[in-house]
Every structure is written in C-alpha cells, then in structure tokens.
Point group: C2
Chain length 251, copies 2
DNA sequence: CGCACGTTTGAGCACCATCAACTATAGTGG
DNA sequence: CCACTATAGTTGATGGTGCTCAAACGTGCG
C-alpha cells in the first residue's frame, strides 16, 4: 500500500510553506470562518507550517504529546482509539476543513491516532498560540468553542447510530453523511470514492467488514447505489434516506 | 414518582442565591479548577443564580435556545437526544461538578435534553459572560477548552463501548465508571444508588432493559455485585474489571 | 507474473431482542 | 388501613440479526 513501507520510521515531511488562510478555499469551513482580513492575517502568523502526510502514515499516534492541532487542507484521515487489549475503534473520518487533535486538549496527549487514508496535507496550529490569539480575537475564540461543541454533537450522532440503528441503517447514514460533506466542499454528492477499507467502515459503525460488504451488495441489488470497489455512486437518494427513517419505524 | 405530578407545567424554581465557587466543595472538579481567589471572585460575579430542578423535570429540552451552561451542584441528570422518529438515545449521565449544555454552543440551541433524575441544583453560567470572562482569565479559558475536550474523549469512550463490547462488558464498564466518579466526589465507590432506570441504562449502553436486568442478575450470581432495586454494592472489584478486559481477549 | 491484501459470498451459530407472564414497589384513594 | 393502580424490574421461551469461520475472487503492487 505504501511504496516506502520498508522504512519503518515516521514518514511525515515538513515543509515551511507560507500558509495563507485568506486565500484558502476552505476558509468558510475551517477555523477562520467569519474573521475579517486583519484577524485572518493574525491567524496566519500563528499557523507557521503545512505538513504533508503520505497515505498510510500517521500524523500522530495515540499517546503522543500534543503541542499543535491540525486543520486538514487536503486529503482524508481516519481517527481511532485503541482499547487496552488492542482493539481499534474508529472514531471518525476527517476531510478538508476539519480539525484534528481536539480530543488531546484535555490531557495534552493525543487519545486518538490520526492516519492519512490518502496523500494529505494539514496546517499545523500550535495550540498555545491559538489559545493566546483567541483571547484577542473574540470571533476566533467563539469559532473555536463552536468547533469543539460541534464535535460533541457529531459524537452524539454516532452514539445514536451505534446505540439505536440496525446494520443497513448505519450504512445508509454513513453514506449520506459522506455525501453531504463532499457536497459542502464542492465535490459531487452523488459519486465519490471511499478512502477507507470495509473493515475501517465497520469499525466506525460497530459492525464487521462482512456486514459492510453485504450491506453494499444489498443496496446495489435494490438499485439504491452502484458500488465498484471503493467507488460509490448514489442512484436513489430518497430511497437511501428512506432506509434511515426506517430506524424505528419498523419498516 | 413526583409528588407534584398533577401539575404538568415545568417545575424549575429559580432562586437568586449568592453563588460562591470559592466555598464550593466541587471547585476542584468544576470550572474554577486552578483559579486564584481573585479570578474565582470574578467568575462568581458571572454565575448569578442557582436553579433547582425537581426529580423528573427537565432543566432544558432539545431544541431550546441556549443562553447559559449549567454546572451540576447537587443531584443527577440524564442527557438524551431524540432521533427524528422519536427514539431516545441517552448520551450521558452527569453528576456534581460536571457541566451541562456543552453540545449547544455550536448552534446556540440545545441538541440534548437534560432531565433531573433526582432533586437537583445547578449553577447557571450565562455563556456570553463566560466567553467574555475567559478572554481575561487565561486559566479559565484553558480550563474551559479542556472541559470541552474531555467531553469529546468521554464520547469516544462510549463509542468504543458501543462499537466493540458485548453486553456484560458494557455493563461492567458502566458500573466501574460510576464507581470511579462517585469516589472522586468523596462518596463510596463500593456502594451506591442508581438514579436511572434499567431502560435508561439500556439506552445509554445500546441494549434493552431486559438485557440490563439479566446482566445484573448474572453479576450477582457470580458474586461480583449485590443488587437490590437501585442499590448497587460492588463485592469483587478486580473480577468486575476482569470482565472488561475480556473485551476482545475472548475470555 | 505472482503474491498480498481487500473484498465477496455462503453456511452455521451466538448473542441479544422480542414477546410474554409474573413479581415487586411506591403512590393513590376509598 | 388496605385494596387499587401504575410503573419498574425479573425471568423464561423463542427467533432474528449480525458474527464467525471458511473459501474463492479481484485488484494492485512489487
């Protein structure tokens, strides 16, 4: 999977590029949302570098000390926690404009690991600087509180999914969520590529990889989607939403 | 259950009591953690009132506008979200020293409802004031970021529980978590009263109430705990922890 | 090309949900 | 005070959903 896999050390390459939130296409999705140009410039002085992470490589691992947060600029990440006995729980998939490392603020240690699922690029945001800056820019502070809160709301959604939904409902919810997030970023909401394996989807949804595979096959039989390897095409969006509302409607 | 149940209107009574974080036994668990006495005084000026909530009554409901956060001073709350089709997912149980309403910061609307499971008392913290104050008190800002982050970590723990654990493992984890939190507050970690019903435990753990009941019975048969109605006594803590580590060890 | 990995599909089974009957407890009113 | 009711909890029998084990296939990379 990784063409440099013979080298076991971390593959993160650091590039000191000028970071310009003001010219970033993600500024309406990301931390700078709603800042004026002066404030955005101040934020840029703090975000000193971009980091490239190759597919399959970790940006950080659970247990690492946290000094910075990261904003995904390009690419796709999987976040996961490990239980003491070594089982993995995927806690989320982050795409462009989303922040990585929010969980680590509480203990200054990453509780999740972040692994790139495709060649990716992130903006590094030293947390101490962000904290300091957010004291001087009220709307930045407010944004950041909201980002943290939104993550809590998202997690509650996942809890609902894991606690109350059946396998195919979870899978439909997952596809619809991805679709919506791609749409927000200007990509097709109808047709996209899954960057993660069936096993990773399963871990996220509390299911086994076989169940994911069967679910996709079933949706395809029913004409809801077309699956070819990791390519997904949504053929019947309303019907897919219908699967979801069958949650407890017993339908 | 509620001695005023013939009166259907909301039972929240507002008392303008002087709030004194500095003399509150929870200050080491709650928002004021690590503030000096001057800073704590400033925080007190913002926390203008305490609110009493009777058992069974909501402090707020999902969909309500959020203007304040609340710190539990006394009592026990259940937080829950409802899916469109009306199913409830309990997202957590909050006890003294824990904050309510963090999820609502993102949209300024409560996404969870909070219901008191016993007669309770909370300190109301107007969010705009907290935001403003946190700009002037760095350690308060830092505390609050950490509180939000800790909630995210907690939610990841629940996701692990719902995604990877079997029924009895979930139940053991639940009991151990409660035990630990009671201990932190100076109560017995060995013997406590469950404020929630079996159904509410089930909703939180992604299980049905019958499964909870069977789990308790089984733990009792095995001599791990003693159950009498809502009273729980932990008889064999190591064995209960053992149940947990059996997570995927197949034991 | 050929190996490794991810995926698909099938068969059988375990776990937990469901349905149902019964018990216990607390609160209500005669 | 004691029936009466409503709510919560226990326990048993049964079945379905999703897990497990297993085998085969496809794809892509070395």
């Amino acid at each position: 999977m990784n063409h440099t896999s013979t080298i076991p050390i971390q593959e993160v390459s650091l590039k000191h590029l000028k970071v310009a939130c003001s010219s970033c296409s993600l500024r309406e999705l990301c931390l700078p949302l709603g800042l004026n140009s002066d404030e955005m410039n101040q934020l840029e002085t703090v975000i000193t570098q971009r980091v490239k992470v190759k597919k399959g490589e970790p940006l950080y691992r659970a247990g690492d000390a946290m000094r910075s947060l990261f904003a995904v600029r390009l690419g796709f990440f999987k976040m996961s926690v490990l239980s003491e006995d070594g089982r993995e729980q995927v806690t989320g998939f982050q795409m462009a404009g989303e922040l990585l490392g929010l969980d680590a603020i509480s203990t200054e240690t990453h509780s999740c690991g972040a692994i790139a699922l495709e060649d990716s690029e992130v903006c590094e945001i030293p947390f101490a600087d962000l904290e300091e800056l957010s004291r001087h820019i009220p709307s930045l502070q407010n944004n950041f509180y909201k980002v943290l809160s939104r993550e809590i709301v998202r997690d509650h959604g996942v809890m609902m999914l894991l606690g109350n939904m059946k396998a195919e409902e979870r899978l439909a919810a997952f596809l619809l969520n991805l679709s919506q997030r791609f749409a927000l970023r200007g990509y097709s909401s109808r047709s996209f590529v899954l960057r993660m394996t069936r096993e990773e989807i399963g871990s996220y949804l509390g299911l086994k990889l076989e169940t994911i595979s069967r679910g996709f096959s079933r949706f395809q039989e029913q004409g809801l989607i077309r699956v070819h390897n990791k390519e997904i095409e949504i053929l019947d969006l309303p019907a897919l939403k219908q699967v979801l509302s069958g949650c407890s409607g017993k339908a």
